[in-house]
Symmetry: C2
Subunit: 148 residues, 2 copies
Amino acid sequence: MGTEENKAIDEAIIRRLIDGWAKAFRAKDIDGVMSNYAQDIVSFDLVPPLRYAGIDEYRKPWEETFPSFEGPIDYEVRDLHIATGDDVAFSHSLNRMSGTMKDEQKIDLWVRWTACFRKIDGKWLITHEQVSVPVDLESGKAVLDLKP
Amino acid sequence: MGTEENKAIDEAIIRRLIDGWAKAFRAKDIDGVMSNYAQDIVSFDLVPPLRYAGIDEYRKPWEETFPSFEGPIDYEVRDLHIATGDDVAFSHSLNRMSGTMKDEQKIDLWVRWTACFRKIDGKWLITHEQVSVPVDLESGKAVLDLKP
């Protein structure tokens, strides 16, 4: 197969991975989410600390977040762009997370998501990601009400 | 040349690009900074909006930030990791920005930086990046005092 054809296949595989990741997120399926990350994942997550390193450490914020929601989480991946090389790829998108917390507080938040992939032993996995909202540096507040 | 040798060269080129980018940042050289970005850059920056799209739009936050500093900006790129494919690459690092603002306020801030590259007409350029600090979702505040 030519390089272009291989790239189209790899891009389709990554798109399916992201679909599966988002489905697992909606279902609060931690194992399903984690199965998309490499053992040595480095994550710059929405919440502190600056960096999560390794799959065991990065499991913890998921174990805290999912039970804090009452019922399923609505999760949408919008404006997804994927760039695929031979064994390195990245994606970026604007993701909307909404739902009801156990304390009945409603959440409806758009975050920026960058995911970086490597093909390891023939399988694409997320080895790095960054999730964030912008910050108003004068007030020191996160800007949580932006919409695309 | 073999693939591994090519990858080593590409990684060295990207490392030099990042060095040049940081040098331009320290010197408040907007053209020097912008020369590393592709025309269709999509940036998820530290400050609002959610997304900057295109080199002209993304020039504006630099034009606002640089003059707000009194003298040069100190800029350090730490824990830099680069993954290089044939024509797609990404890097992540923790970057420290410090200096004195025109209003004499001191800034000393660690941010997370993810840069995503494509080789376009033989030249590596940043086509996407994300810069952020984590957020305390309960207080709605950006967490600006974290150190690696």
